[in-house]
């Protein structure tokens, strides 16, 4: 019973292909660094990756590395190293894990993908649509590698994304082009950009479709599976490989739904996860929810890589719209409407808010949203205190007791 047991999660046959896509992504980057071509751009996870790909860059995502460090629990070795350098334990623990790993010259990527290390950047491109931390994070590397750091400052906390917001962001994106042309040595080819945006749109539509299979009762997969299978949507959107991958995964999920295969045996409760994953505890939490016959069927986090605004016929404007229309950029009212839609669509019985100590941006419990939603939707909400990567901020005992009590409440009421 309880924690520490091996995961009983049902594996997907698509996982083999997933590993190939991820390995290819890192190995191509590694080779590019060794050859000096193509150039490598580092990009924020919800940043203008399409523009970078279209201009011939291979794209590396430090946030993905942050998640890898969290999931492997290596983060706990590295965060203190960055803390000692003056990067506070209160700021993004992706940043502190990643910077700490860099200072130690270590990365699990070496072992996992057989590459020589984190691929060195030729340029760093951020978007502050998620937070300011990414900007400071990228500037650290800009100073280290002495390469240009360019970016977009996005509107935050908006009730509605207006045409004025979109035009501003689109203009900023266009403004990146001269520097990118200089670094890559290639002119922007609009047809190529349209093609890449088209591929990203396809990937995003498929990602949406695979996530929506969890609206089936019982659900064929859980949030914990989503966090694994979202890899290509993050690091390889804009490529054919990502599209191919989700087509395979979609088939497998549809097959599970058709056969009534449940990710959680005797699924009794359907939950929503609001906030960042607790990367170092995914397995333990997956097992806990399995034991409690509760399936986390949807999350804000995994939905964040659905960009339905991409339009190959209008690449800059639609990229600007897609990257500004994300959940995190909106005000509370919009976020509540969004969660309500998902709760209805996925027949959700309760909402878990993860208040991640070092990511206020993805912690939506801090302005009384759980209390408002509980009243509005008539379903219980629970706040769990933890963090994405910094396990010093997480009390397993408290979290487990809270989650078990939450499920007891669902059962009794």
């Amino acid at each position: 019973m309880g924690l520490g047991q091996s995961s009983d999660r049902r594996e997907f046959s698509a996982t083999k292909k997933l590993k190939q896509v991820m390995a290819q992504h890192f190995q191509e980057l590694d080779q590019a660094v060794k050859r000096g071509s193509p150039k490598v751009a580092w990009c924020t996870s919800v940043g203008p990756a399409e523009l970078l790909r279209a201009m011939g860059f291979l794209v590396y995502f430090p946030e993905n590395h942050g998640a890898v460090l969290g999931a492997s629990r290596k983060a706990m070795d590295y965060i203190p190293v960055a803390n000692a350098l003056g990067y506070s334990p209160d700021i993004c623990s992706y940043l502190t894990s990643d910077v700490g790993a860099y200072l130690r010259r270590e990365t699990p990527l070496v072992q996992t993908y057989g590459i020589s290390g984190v691929p060195k950047p030729d340029v760093l491109v951020y978007n502050t649509n998620q937070c300011r931390d990414v900007q400071d994070w990228f500037h650290f590397y800009g100073r280290e590698f002495k390469v240009p750091v360019i970016g977009i400052t996005s509107p935050r906390g908006v009730e509605e994304v207006t045409e004025a917001h979109v035009k501003d962001v689109a203009r900023q994106m266009e403004g990146l082009v001269p520097t990118l042309e200089q670094v890559s040595g290639t002119k922007l080819d609009m047809d190529r950009l349209r093609h890449v945006v088209g591929l990203s749109r396809r990937c995003s539509d498929l990602w949406k479709e695979v996530l929506e299979t969890a609206s089936a009762v019982p659900s064929p997969w859980t949030f914990f599976d989503h966090t694994i299978h979202m890899g290509p949507a993050v690091v390889a959107r804009g490529t054919q490989e990502a599209v191919d991958y989700y087509e395979i995964l979609l088939k497998e999920l549809q097959e599970r739904v058709k056969n009534g295969v449940a990710a959680v045996e005797e699924e009794r409760h359907r939950l929503y996860w609001e906030g960042m994953p607790i990367w170092g505890k995914l397995r333990d939490l997956a097992n806990l929810f399995m034991r409690l016959h509760s399936c986390i069927v949807a999350s804000t986090y995994c939905n964040s890589w659905i960009f339905t605004d991409f339009d190959p016929d209008d690449p800059f404007h639609s990229m600007a719209k897609a990257y500004t229309n994300i959940f995190i950029c909106h005000a509370e009212g919009w976020k509540e409407d969004y969660i309500e839609r998902i709760v209805n669509q996925f027949q959700i019985d309760g909402i878990l808010f993860h208040d991640a100590k070092t990511c206020p941006n993805n912690s939506n419990s801090r302005y009384s949203m759980p209390q408002r939603l509980q009243k509005r939707l008539g379903i219980p909400c629970l706040v769990i205190h933890g963090d994405l990567n910094d396990l010093r901020c997480y009390s397993e005992e408290q979290a487990v007791t809270n989650i078990e009590a939450f499920v007891e409440q669902l059962e009794e009421n």
């Binding site: 509980q374 219980p380 009390s395 007791t401 809270n402 078990e404 009590a405 007891e408 409440q409 009794e412």
Partner: protein
């Protein structure tokens, strides 16, 4: 004791008609034995120590002894608390959040806001008039506002934890202690000592700060019920909370045992439900 015979007298149809709850908390383990009428027949409290399995068995044995009930006449043992998975005799496991709610509702069967202050954490549980949980919350990671906090500060003041209640009652002057964090609080106390504040006023300030921490978790309205070991030994806390909220604060009998009692009630209810 002829348990079967007594069972027939009660006409319950149940062969075994005693139920036990074992609450393995961060500081103390509590065992409670109840009968068919949910009357507490015996209980025992001891330090949790490091051997939860052995400790909980010994604690239950003592409670049974006091109740004059044999282990065989127990229909069901329900465990709760931090060590709930380490109670070998437990047939069922429930979180302390549910058990405190169940135990309180037994004595106060109406809508209420329950505040449980334990050794390591503090919980606020809202119950509706039917005894259904509406919402609950646990304190954040810091120990401020818990028994551990009081213990730590008592140690700093060179006091025994058992002196706190009577000292606080002698207070004549309000002093404010504002920090979230136990370490910061200790520093604040040093400042107060330096300023010449009296120890009884500081201790009363400590209880007021525990109240403040609780009010930061929940606005606390309606009927307030206070449970847990801290209030059992420091009833002044209920007075401090009542003063602050300008309302009566209710305490069930043996508030330290509420979790274990609630656990036993779960067992009884389940058997009654068949």
């Amino acid at each position: 004791m002829n348990t079967k015979g007594e069972g027939r007298i009660h006409g319950s149809g149940l062969e075994k008609f005693f139920w036990a709850g074992v609450d393995v908390g961060a500081s103390t383990t509590k065992a409670v034995v109840i009968d068919l009428e949910a009357t507490m027949r015996g209980f025992h409290v001891q330090r949790s120590g490091v051997d939860y399995a052995g400790g909980s068995a010994a604690c239950l044995e003592k409670a049974l002894e006091k109740a004059g009930v044999s282990l065989e006449s127990l229909s069901c043992v329900v465990s709760t608390g931090y060590g709930r998975y380490n109670v070998p005799m437990a047939k069922r496991i429930k979180t302390e959040i549910s058990c405190h709610m169940k135990g309180c509702y037994h004595y106060f069967p109406h809508a209420a806001t329950i505040v449980d202050i334990g050794g390591q954490d503090c919980k606020v549980i809202r119950v509706d008039e039917k005894g259904r949980r509406v919402a609950f919350r646990m304190n954040r990671k810091c120990a401020a506002g818990t028994g551990a906090f009081l213990e730590e500060v008592a140690l700093r003041l060179g006091l025994d934890i058992s002196q706190l209640d009577s000292l606080a009652r002698r207070s004549t002057r309000k002093v404010q202690i504002g920090s979230y964090c136990t370490v910061f609080t200790s520093t604040e106390i040093l400042t107060l000592i330096r300023k010449g504040e009296k120890v009884e006023d500081i201790v009363r300030g400590l209880f007021d700060s525990v109240v403040q921490r609780i009010l930061e978790m929940d606005p606390l309205d309606g009927t307030i019920v206070l449970t847990g070991g801290v209030v059992e030994h420091n009833p002044v806390l209920a007075e401090a909370l009542g003063e602050r909220l300008k309302t009566n604060v209710f305490i069930p009998p043996h508030p330290q045992l509420t979790g274990a009692f609630g656990a036993a009630l779960y067992g009884l209810e389940e058997d009654r439900a068949g």
